[in-house]
Symmetry: D2
Subunit: 202 residues, 4 copies
């Protein structure tokens, strides 16, 4: 149905998260409706992205050295002297760090693991920054490691794996509290969530 050039772009956009071939086609028709300058602006910003945005050497969060100190290798959180160095929060990906920051309740540091590992596919492990985590945690300043992984099967398996890896270091590891979320109804709560809510009553 589509011409080769359009098909090629549909393929590339289909690799974007949440995008299927139908939405990808809509993206291409959207691009066709843009002016030449608008297309140029988009491609130029995409090209500049990898130049301007670096990954922090300590926590692996993206940051823009240019907007801080040109030669900085650390992000704005890791450079912030107000942050508590004794608390390290391990998250799966950068989009998990954002809502934690938004709560303004967390003042420790981070490490972005880069993924989770399913209980079955152990190869996923290689992509995770487990070595980097173990290296960083050696720092005696770190007293507690909060494994802030999703309370899903994969997140649980990953937390369990990390706990085992961290055990020899003899540091306190914690996880996010389980319980009823805002707006929940007891009547429809699952067994495990309600059990956690009963145990952590306060």
């Amino acid at each position: 149905m589509h011409s080769p050039q359009i098909r090629k772009l549909i393929d590339l956009f289909s690799k974007f998260p949440t995008v299927g071939p139908r939405t990808a086609a809509r993206f291409v028709f959207h691009l066709l409706s843009l002016s030449g300058e608008e297309v140029k602006e988009l491609t130029s910003e995409i090209s500049k992205l990898k130049e301007n945005v670096k990954l922090c050497e300590s926590c692996f969060k993206s940051f823009e050295p240019f907007s801080l100190d040109r030669h900085s290798r650390l992000c704005e959180i890791c450079r912030d002297p107000g942050r508590k160095k004794e608390l390290l929060c391990v998250v799966e990906k950068e989009t998990d760090l954002i809502p934690i920051e938004k709560t303004k309740k967390y003042r420790g540091l981070y490490l972005i693991l880069g993924g989770t590992v399913s209980a079955l596919k152990k190869e996923g492990l290689r992509k995770l920054r487990v070595k980097e985590l173990l290296e960083r945690v050696k720092n005696p300043e770190i007293k507690e490691i909060l494994l802030a992984l999703n309370p899903t099967t994969e997140g649980e398996a990953t937390a369990l794996y990390l706990e085992r890896q961290l055990k020899p270091l003899n540091k306190k590891t914690t996880r996010l509290g389980r319980g009823l979320p805002m707006g929940a109804e007891l009547e429809y709560a699952d067994d495990q969530t309600l059990s956690s809510a009963l145990e952590s009553r306060r």
Copy 2:
């Protein structure tokens, strides 16, 4: 469209929880498709319900005296000597008590409040068993009152109201733990839930 007899029954079924006029009409046509005996069985069971099922005088849960001790005025939970008398769990309605029992993690007693009160409509208060709660809590055996209300606006307002009423009695009041439920994703968690999950990490 419908004849008077059918309309009358549609009206009655429309008062059932979750039932609108369309579903009510389907119920009536379902009844019409039943045999005479099936209809008789249904009406007979409905009639026997209020005769056979009583409300427990202590916790207001429904129970069948016939299946316990014919003259019992207490339900099977309140009669159970294995239950911890120092812990009282206040729930909105009987359907909220069921999932708590299913967890098998709670071994205290209950009181069914009979509803919640919205912050705005204070008249709702009269229907709640607040007086019964205050009376029961005077029992020195009770050390902790767990206000197991839904973490919704109405549930919160009700818990707040009960806390104020219970204050003069100087007993410990608790609430269900807040946090991430099973299967949640940090990325989509609301601010309050995530704040609670951070605070109650363990």
Copy 3:
């Protein structure tokens, strides 16, 4: 969890269309919250239903003889002299007849088939009023039979079956027009629907 009397009623309500055990339990607790008079009203109306409501001998729609002529064996539609006798609309069930009447575009008569037959389970056939349909259609006044069955796999199989049965009678059979419904979007229309919409353009 539930007592025998409550369990019994949950079982009976679970047979109602769209009702699962959870909703059935909510129905029972609703009944428990009603006054004695309210329960009596409900059971009395259910009992009177089968006495007061009859099935029309011609179209099998439910009707109340009492509200028409005490001894009538025909419903208000079949008795209406303004109805066109040359057009007979076959529907699956009474709840399908209602929306057709609401359009006020149809002025013919009806026959309620009493179900559909899946392509696989041929036993379903016995419950359908196929014999009654063939008998009624012999009436020379009837010129067209509109098979108003759902455009679903089961509805299609039933229409096909009826067409074959009606063939020897040499009468015109029609079906409801296919096409795009109100509010549809071409982009998401399925192939068959769009093909019909193209063919029936006007």
Copy 4:
């Protein structure tokens, strides 16, 4: 929260159809995870899009001259001698043309209008190719104009507007057939759809 470079790209992606700021952020993090070559491939394909893909001068569909005849100003459909020149199908946008082609039931030509006009905001009119439509329809070969707009409020208003504009030309205008779509249930069909289905029975 986000750095300026990331914010800039989130803004640009948020203009894509169906994309909100949250999905746009996920797109940016996806780009950050790509290799330099993968980013280059994407920007290069986006840049080539407007060079390689042209709009057909007759129907305004996108096409790639390179894959047909280098200097062609007409798309593959308009160039196809097998297409019926007496039938012109007017669609809102290219993504509406695709499912019509997929049915393989339509063999006429097209004109992409470029949008719809809401009944309220008449300014939208200027963007539509109404002048181009009126010009093209003057061709005596065209006998029927099928206004294949969505059966939505906006689509209806646009079809009505076009019918009025086309009236002086005295050509047959048609619309897509309305009716029940595949899988619909009579019980839940809206009044207008069911009325159309009754009228267009066949």
